[in-house]
Amino acid sequence: MPSEISVRITGEAGQGTQTIGDALSHIFKSAGYHLFAYQDFMSRIRGGNNFFEIRVATKPVHAPRRKPDIIICLDKSSVDIHKKDLAIDGILIVDQTKFRLPGLEESMYDVAFNEIALRVANDALYVNSIACGLIAGLAGLDFAFVEQGIQAVFDRKSKDIIQNNLNSARAGFDLGLKNPRKKMFLLPVISKDRLTDKAGEILLDGSSAIALGAVHAGCKFYTAYPMSPSTNIMNIVAEHAAREHIIVEQAEDEIAAINMAIGASFAGSRAMTSTSGGGFCLMTEGLSLAGMTETPIVMVDAQRPGPATGFPTRTEQADLDFVLSAGHGEFARVVYAPGSAKQAYDLTMKAFNIAEKYQIPVIILTDQHLQDSATDAQAPDQDNTAAERFIISKEESAGITSYKRYALTDSGISPRAIPSWIQDVMYVDSDEHDEAGHITEDAEMRKQMVQKRLYKKLHGLLQELEQPTSFNTKDARVILLGFGSTLGILQEAALALEKSKVGFVHLPQVWPFPSEEMLKLLSGARMIISIENNAQGQLARLLRRETGIKVGKSILKYDGRPFDIDSVIEIIKRELEL
């Protein structure tokens, strides 16, 4: 009995691979399994080939496998594209009654989806629910969980539709139970205890995590220009807009977005914007403006492969260098690179607090893979995460009759007032300015202002580092190194090779760089391997620049696809001659 299975559902854009995926995720989550689900899709609305892959396991899982055990092909052309990816002993589920493809090997399991759908629910659309039921049957689940999952996903549909879906799922389920090879995929039953424990768990994907983080952090002004893979964050914030009194405004371009957000923040709202690399380019001047005017702002760069339009719906981690130095001139910034949906939520909350405390721009560097991947996670507890405002309160403001926006202080942070709250006026300027915010050309004032915006704030920020996550680094033979969405890969690879003295270090914050901690963690390493979704080993370069430590090897992937854990382990083993 395997402790995990991976299932891929593939078909054309518009065929509903994602709906099936969502339903399956809910079904397996109800049954108490851990799961990791991710998406691979093309930049088109109909046709082409997309897939959704879900890995279900009895212990937590965080990354894709190389070869799925089960592949369901919803259209004919999927078969050719995907059959080479099937695991040994895996099965390819195909509606041969419909496709009539010649020469398919025995790995194939013929399911007459179309006929069954028409028979059970009188509509070919129900193929999707048959597929869900089928997988659940193959995995040996209790049908009650299938019911729960279907109910959750079709929540807002009519009774009839739900019933049709349930009937279809049942039909698929029975087929799954009947499959002679089903033993290969039967998952161990989950204990009652775990089922009770998991009450507080939800399915969380990167986009939802960041959106919820923003909402819970008290973001009241959200503006962006649509751009994959960042758009979903705005969609989800928009769902909360009315209830939480958030202004959600679609900008005419990314330049408008960041400048609107800065204006809103200046006037008193917590403000955020999101985009991907190309849009981030257009925001860099605004980023620099936030630095100069010391206006707090939270930005998301959800990376996709570049340059230019690149692969709009795929993944990469190649904007690291860029976001570290984006915008002209020098000023303090923070760059977080969450490694999981949960971390994305936490760091989004933190981003708002740090941005406001230090009056700086904070960038959340994520990527398509993290945005579109879902796992089971502890539901965020909003009550625990009260947002602290680092501004002069309304009450206190009422008594202020003389105010300098850029008063020089030891910390570099000037008490921040909101216009109209205080009795005085305030001047904010993008030119170099004096303490009162008026334009100056004075050399000495300039020096002090640079020191304020750069050194002094950095000094404070170093006290609030989000420290690297690490595992098995002591006496390690190899330490794997990464940032952002590769956390799952690092975790699973190190765990799998724990006995061979493989450890990992993952950075959820890449700037300011946690140099001290990195020196501590890495100085004993015999070899460091950076694992990065880019072509230059950008993290490895940054590490060397900041600490002098040189990695021994970089495992780089830049084909727009995420790493899979099997390939990574294989490469490491080869490297270690294991």
């Binding site: 088109r44 109909r46 082409g48 220009y225 994959s228 758009t231 928009a238 009315a242 230019a308 339009t309």
Partner: protein, 261 residues
């Protein structure tokens, strides 16, 4: 030249029944009538569904950045006047991200033709409002309906001084083909806004919706009067005029000179 001379081997990525198919055919039809060799034609686009069009025509293609087709087209035309330059763009591409370039390239008046697949929505990014989306349309982002006034591209173009302004409908392919040919033959900046049903994301402005409203300007229409053009261009709602709303001759960028003092 025949339709086949402009056939590209690149497989199409549009949804079945997308309005862009009609526009593509009209464009090819116009190119056939134009009679130029594909090598002397350049299609420039930004990013979006409409912006994929150059790949589906056998002609030179420069598929640049979202919103930035016009500056690239201006550069190319100015650097190489042998090229007949046509821009295929979307309402988001041209009026949203690229709005500033529209105004200022109209002022430059290079000899290029701009065909906007105006589906009143952002198609490629899955259905957000565009500058031309009708008020109160609900989207995932505009959850309470669009509250911005929709832009009239024709009026905007006229206000910036465009010398050729037309509207077509993706379903009226012959009519549209003629418009495109007129636009190409017009010496200067020609804007053709095309009503383009997006069957996937725009459930309001459908083939039917447009069909019920559009009417063709006939020969009685005076197309060289700016006042009339403004008035006609403002017409939107129950009746939507298609055809050439304005056409006057203007000196093109490469021909303009000032008296030397």
């Amino acid at each position: 030249m025949e339709m086949n001379d402009f056939k590209s081997s690149d497989p199409m990525a549009w949804c079945p029944r997308c309005g862009n198919y009609g526009i593509l055919n009209s464009l090819k039809g116009a190119l056939v009538k134009l009679g130029k060799h594909p090598k002397d034609i350049l299609l420039v686009s930004g990013i979006g569904q409409a912006a994929k069009m150059p790949h589906y025509v056998k002609a030179n293609c420069f598929n640049g950045l979202h919103g930035r087709a016009l500056p690239a087209a201006f550069g190319a035309k100015t650097a190489n006047n042998d090229l007949t330059v046509i821009v295929t763009t979307g309402d988001g591409d041209c009026y949203g991200e690229g709005g500033n370039h529209l105004i200022h390239n109209i002022r430059r008046n290079p000899d290029i033709t701009v065909i906007v697949s105006d589906n009143q929505i952002y198609g490629l990014t899955k259905g957000q409002a565009s500058p031309t989306t009708d008020e109160c349309t609900v989207t995932k982002i505009q959850t309470a309906g669009v509250i911005l006034e929709h832009l009239s591209p024709l009026v905007l173009a006229l206000s910036a001084g465009a010398g050729f302004v037309a509207r077509g409908f993706a379903q009226e392919t012959d009519h549209l083909s003629d418009l495109i040919l007129s636009g190409i033959n017009y010496k200067g900046f020609a804007l053709i806004d095309v009503l383009q049903p997006c069957v996937t994301f725009n459930k309001k402005n459908t083939y039917e919706w447009y069909s019920r409203r559009v009417y063709k300007l006939d020969s009685s229409y005076t197309s060289n009067d700016l006042g009339i053009a403004f008035q006609k261009s403002l017409e939107w709602g129950d009746r939507i005029p298609i055809g050439i709303l304005y056409s006057v001759s203007k000196t093109t960028y490469d021909q303009k000179t000032c008296p030397t003092s």
